[in-house]
């Protein structure tokens, strides 16, 4: 099943930084959020976090506007999150085909959390990536001498803006999943 996937993290480097928030939104055949399957949304305690790391990760926290102290108090530990994820997948989904904005980034963090073996159990090798696709559409336009379809950037917010999508709450994993799905659908229909 195709699922939009997004995670907010404490930084850019998996293995050094951690997932703080993860969302998975199952999609139906028309790339709309599935009506009968609930999304999976979770906050996770960062397992490598030390208070002295705060200056290093403050940049990421400004971007995703997550209160790390709140997550440390209220988030699930990685193991509990894994249990919940496992139950959710078994109850609702089969193998997941992820749809991401920048698949290598999200998949690397999820692999770091689940481990490569477990990742292969839950996730299909096939994926969709709106970031990569937007770059391909830009390439196509350049080679054909057409106007740039995404002149500002191929970041999610800019893509959504170029395609007239306004879901809001950028850098919240769940809302970014909804935006990614809407962007992908618009790309399928418009281009």
């Amino acid at each position: 099943m195709i699922c939009a996937l997004d995670c907010e993290t404490t930084g850019l480097i998996p293995g050094r930084h951690d997932i703080l928030q993860l969302a998975l939104v199952p999609l139906d055949d028309t790339i709309e959020p599935h009506k009968n399957i609930p999304p999976f949304r979770i906050y996770m305690k960062p397992k490598r976090f030390r208070p002295e790391d705060l200056p290093e990760i403050s940049g990421a926290l400004i971007v995703n506007k997550i209160d790390i102290n709140w997550v440390i108090r209220n988030g699930y530990t990685h193991d509990v999150a894994l249990d919940l994820f496992d139950k959710y997948i078994k109850q609702y989904l089969g193998k997941i085909q992820p749809l991401c904005q920048n698949y290598p980034f999200d998949s690397a963090f999820v692999k770091d959390w689940l481990g490569a073996e477990q990742y292969a159990v839950y996730f299909d090798r096939q994926y969709r990536d709106t970031y990569s696709l937007a770059n391909a559409l830009k390439d196509k336009a350049r080679l054909k001498g057409l106007p740039d379809p995404f002149p500002k950037s191929t970041r999610l917010t800019a893509l959504a803006e170029s395609l007239g999508i306004n879901i809001g709450n950028a850098h919240d994993a769940f809302f970014d999943c909804l935006t990614t799905a809407a962007v992908y659908k618009e790309m399928l229909l418009k281009f």
């Binding site: 292969a120 969709r128 990569s132 770059n135 391909a136 080679l143 054909k144 057409l146 379809p149």
Partner: protein, 210 residues
């Protein structure tokens, strides 16, 4: 990471890594190739490709040193400007090989891949009630569908070249030229240009009058 690098300042490398399995901690890298690519997705034949085979005793550390030297000769004064390009993007082995710091120094986080485009073309066709152009998503099947010959015995360097050729062909078959969205975008741009010309014309006239 540099978020807004213009394409003109970026070196696109078609990268390929061959491994003994999917996990960098357990499996071994057999060979790595990096092929400089023009913005038109043709091989840049003025620049020497990078190729290293680890199956005959070369260490990963030696490979890193070689890559650094190659990169210095190629474009070493600029960092953070490699766009990774592959059939299926997966940075895990490159990160493992180069180390996190070096990896994020070299690579821009933009990635291009064949798989995303192929999936997109299939789904676009389905939404429009047409047949899927690609029945299977493996590189061999995509090559067959695009009439590109994949050698029976190939290595990472040939594969890197092949991925790029496939991508270039895919860009040409992406059926977007006659799409109304593009036309509206084009006419909007043309309208903006006309408005800009009129504005300058008026300013010139005012200057002349003055």
């Amino acid at each position: 990471m540099n978020k807004n690098v213009s394409l003109d300042y970026i070196v696109t490398l078609s990268l390929k890594v061959e491994t003994t399995g999917p996990q960098p901690e357990k499996d071994k890298i057999k060979a790595i190739a990096a092929l400089p690519v023009y913005l038109s997705y043709e091989r840049d034949r003025m620049r020497i490709p990078f190729y290293i085979n680890f199956t005959k005793g070369l260490t990963l550390a030696y490979g890193r040193e070689c890559f650094e030297q190659w990169w210095t000769r190629l474009d070493g004064h600029r960092k953070n400007n490699i766009i990774c390009f592959d059939h299926r993007i997966d940075y895990v082995f490159f990160r493992y090989w180069l180390g996190d710091d070096a990896f994020f120094d070299y690579f821009n986080d933009t990635g291009m891949d064949v798989l995303s485009v192929v999936k997109y073309l299939n789904e676009r066709a389905i939404l429009q009630g047409e047949d899927r152009p690609f029945l299977n998503l493996s590189l061999t099947s995509v090559c067959n569908a695009l009439d590109i010959q994949r050698p029976a015995r190939s290595d990472v360097l040939i594969e890197a070249d092949l991925s790029m050729e496939v991508y270039r062909k895919l860009l040409f078959i992406m059926p977007i030229a006659e799409n109304t969205y593009w036309r509206s975008l084009k006419s909007r741009k043309e309208k903006q240009l006309i408005e800009l010309k009129e504005k300058y014309k008026k300013e010139d006239e005012n200057d002349l009058r003055a």
